[in-house]
């Protein structure tokens, strides 16, 4: 009896050990001898679906290569990637933020793609957004120049959308797509469109509802201010022009009451209000196109209202696709990156899925002229990339802690509890301290 029991116990222990050890190893060669690549990415459901289709096509065209996809929720992605790097368990191909290029190159995480791209005569770099490629260049000192460490998955110009149907219903003249509103005009139009439609004394149709973290930039920049100076080492939010823009932003809620009040200002709310057709203006990214196509109203794009510079401004987001410096199959991995970012076949599928604007210039040109699909004024996206879009301030520095804290502390300004002028004065030294730390960290990582 005892013997039998002992055998069983030993087996269980062995099994447990095997299971524990198997968990540690990360093989990348699949059982049937084909080369297996791991691709880690993120995106909404429509995006995921589109990428799955493209990868399927890639596998068909490249027999012997299998792609294993790892998808995570957007807000979990960065953590998961960092954990994979720390744990030395990086996927072969992965998304990364342009702001991380310096850190990842300095620590040898990313593979230099330049030789592979130069070797491949199908890739014409001058047919891809220069802005997009430059985001992933780094020469060891300055970002924006030198070798290429990633290819832009896409560019995400953040445009302003408006509910055309609502304008027509209210008899308000449609905005001019070539001439941005001034700030005063913008308030006026919003006031006309903020309405109590069911007569309960509370408005249930609003002009706008901006999330401060993603929309304040448009107002600050168009007023001639910025978070950072030229050298990217000094925090410049204590500029009066900056305070003016921030105050304007807060006043939209507190003074002009054209956005849902404090109680209703959560992002989810404004997004859903827009989707329900209860909001006149709302920012639109290219990734929204597939979702917004099904909206029960007509919408279109226009430039953000312009501050004292008289010029509209907004940001361009981007994610790069990079290759791990430790990948077993660099050729195949780069091939996949190229397929997703520069090949006609891959790009066409992604653009048709309405999750991004084309990476290829000629394709973008043709795409923007198509006025049969929503939004009509796709040219606005292209104009942002070509003319006036900028990178988010956090992208220029080694980490974005100094930038994040600005938004962490901002609620009292939005609630009207303190003025923008006081806020920028109180916040600047705090941010400067963190920025100094980031600059110091960057210097250390370079040697």
């Amino acid at each position: 009896m005892i013997k039998k029991k002992g055998f069983a116990i030993t087996m269980v222990v062995l099994l447990l050990m095997v299971a524990a050890l198997a968990g540690c190893s990360g093989g990348s060669s699949s059982s049937d001898g084909s080369k297996e690549l791991t691709f880690m990415f993120r995106g909404g459901t429509d995006e995921q679906k589109a990428y799955k289709e493209v990868i399927k096509k890639f596998e068909e065209e490249h027999p012997g290569v299998k792609v294993k996809m790892v998808v995570t929720a957007a807000d979990q992605y960065a953590t998961k990637l960092r954990a994979a790097i720390t744990g030395n368990n990086l996927p072969d191909i992965f998304y990364f933020a342009p702001g991380d290029v310096k850190a990842y190159v300095n620590s040898g995480v990313l593979k230099n793609l330049t030789p592979y791209i130069e070797k491949n005569k199908d890739i014409k770099l001058d047919n891809i957004w220069k802005y997009g490629i430059d985001l992933y260049r780094y020469d060891g000192k300055m970002a924006g120049q030198g070798d290429i460490y990633g290819m832009p998955k896409d560019l995400g110009p953040f445009a302003l959308g408006y509910n055309k149907t609502m304008f027509e219903k209210a008899g308000v003249p449609l905005p001019d797509k070539d001439k941005p509103y001034t700030w005063d005009e913008f308030i006026k139009v919003n006031q006309e469109l903020t309405k109590d439609t069911n007569g309960d004394g509370k408005p249930d149709q609003y002009g706008t509802g901006f999330n401060v973290q993603w929309a304040l930039q448009a107002f600050v920049w168009s007023n001639g201010a910025d978070w950072l100076d030229e050298s990217k080492t000094k925090v410049t939010i204590d500029d009066p022009k900056f305070a003016e823009a921030l105050q304007y932003f807060a006043d939209m809620q507190n003074k002009y009451k054209i956005t849902p009040g404090i109680e209703q200002s959560q992002t989810l709310d404004t997004y859903q209000r827009w989707m329900k057709g209860e909001m006149a203006f709302f920012p639109v990214g290219p990734w929204d196109m597939s979702t917004f196509e099904k909206l029960p109203f007509e919408y279109d794009l226009l430039p953000f209202p312009a501050g004292s510079t008289g010029k509209s401004a907004t940001w361009i987001g981007s994610l790069g696709i990079g290759v791990s410096s430790k990948t077993k199959y660099p050729d195949e991995a780069v091939e996949l990156v190229n397929y997703l970012t520069t090949s006609k076949e891959g790009m066409k599928q992604l653009v048709d899925a309405k999750v991004q604007i084309p990476n290829l210039l000629d394709m973008a040109d043709e795409w923007s002229k198509d006025t049969k699909t929503k939004p009509n004024n796709k040219q606005e996206f292209i104009d942002i990339v070509n003319d006036y879009g900028r990178s988010l301030p956090g992208n220029y520095t080694y980490n974005a802690e100094w930038y994040d804290i600005f938004f962490t502390d901002i609620q009292p300004v939005l609630d009207g509890k303190i003025t923008a002028a006081d806020y920028v004065k109180q916040e600047q030294p705090k941010m400067q301290k963190l920025l100094d730390k980031a600059v110091e960290q960057e210097k250390k990582s370079q040697k």
């Binding site: 005892i2 002992g6 116990i9 030993t10 222990v13 447990l16 050990m17 524990a20 807000d75 960065a78 953590t79 960092r82 954990a83 790097i85 720390t86 850190a103 990842y104 300095n106 620590s107 040898g108 995480v109 849902p260 404090i262 109680e263 209703q264 200002s265 959560q266 989810l268 709310d269 080694y398 980490n399 974005a400 802690e401 994040d404 938004f407 962490t408 502390d409 609620q411 009292p412 960290q441 250390k444 990582s445």
Partner: protein, 296 residues
């Protein structure tokens, strides 16, 4: 004699085999990361590249780090939920320990949050706390109360989190108390009744001391768990809440380590947290020793 010692030796081997898996697990998943992190706390490691030894600099920086104190304070503040949860759970357990119909149903109802995924529960409460269409404010509206925007206001975000964690842990605590209550021999109460003790006297002198080991266990585990609270705020206030008012210490560690490339600094904080938990637990064990009730 020889056979007996053989059997003994054999059993010893089995004994070791039995404890081998958890010990291996402890070595691989606890001790190794602990030592690694301990070393990391003396370096400027960014989590990516090489580690440079910088001595105690991280710890020195910690003392002047406003957010470190803030997140420590937040963590301690959220622990207010522990006594509240214990009292509520004990009351519930006392109620459900009576022979009245329907207790089983209630036990199940109170236990459901415990078995639900913390992430799912957090998302659900996130909706409930929404200032505009949230369930909580809609409920308050019935009484004519205009509820705040719970998670966006630095004054209400912590109470909101406490309410949720109490709700989530109630079933577990209640179940342990229930088990403890049921193991109290009826004979004590019968004797007390004969002596003419009131209900409250019985509770104070019999029930409370008898469930003390459970209370002790719960306080220790709750404080350890409470110091490490993370998922709730990570989902409900992903940026640490208005003015970082809902960020716990683990949230701050995670923020530094994975978002801001300061793994060494984060390790130093983790060490401080570890020492804190160790000391608090030690104190509790000492206190429990002193006033221990001999249950038999």
């Amino acid at each position: 004699m020889i056979t007996k010692s053989n059997l003994y030796r054999k059993e010893k081997v089995y004994g070791y085999l039995f404890i081998l898996p958890p010990i291996l697990g402890l070595l691989i998943f606890t001790l190794f990361p602990f030592v690694y992190s301990l070393y990391g706390s003396f370096t400027d490691w960014d989590g990516l590249g090489q580690m440079n030894f910088i001595g105690l600099d991280n710890f020195k920086d910690l003392f002047s780090d406003e957010l470190f104190y803030k997140s420590m304070y937040n963590t301690l503040f959220l622990m207010l939920g522990i006594p509240i949860g214990l009292v509520l759970a004990l009351l519930l357990a006392l109620g459900l320990n009576r022979k009245i119909p329907g207790t089983t149903t209630f036990r199940v109802i109170y236990y459901i949050p415990v078995i639900s995924s913390l992430a799912a529960v957090s998302i659900m409460w996130n909706w409930a706390y929404n200032g505009d269409y949230g369930l909580v404010n809609q409920f308050l509206e019935i009484f004519g109360i205009k509820g705040p925007n719970w998670l966006m206001d630095k004054d209400t975000v912590k109470p909101a989190l406490i309410l949720m964690t109490v709700w989530k842990g109630l079933g577990y605590t209640m179940l342990l108390y229930l088990a403890a209550l049921q193991s109290v021999s009826r004979s004590y109460y019968e004797a007390a009744e004969l002596d003419g003790a009131s209900g409250f006297q019985m509770f104070r002198n019999i029930t409370w001391p008898m469930v003390k080991p459970v209370t002790f266990f719960l306080v220790v585990t709750n404080i350890i768990g409470g110091s490490q609270i993370f998922t709730e705020m990570n989902i409900m206030t992903p940026t640490g809440g208005p003015e970082y008012s809902s960020a716990s210490i683990v949230f701050y560690i995670w923020d530094k380590a994975f978002k801001n490339l300061q793994m060494g600094y984060a390790s130093a904080m983790a060490m401080i947290l570890g020492i804190f938990i160790f000391i608090v637990t030690l104190i509790q064990f000492k206190m429990n020793e002193k006033s221990s009730f001999d249950g038999d």
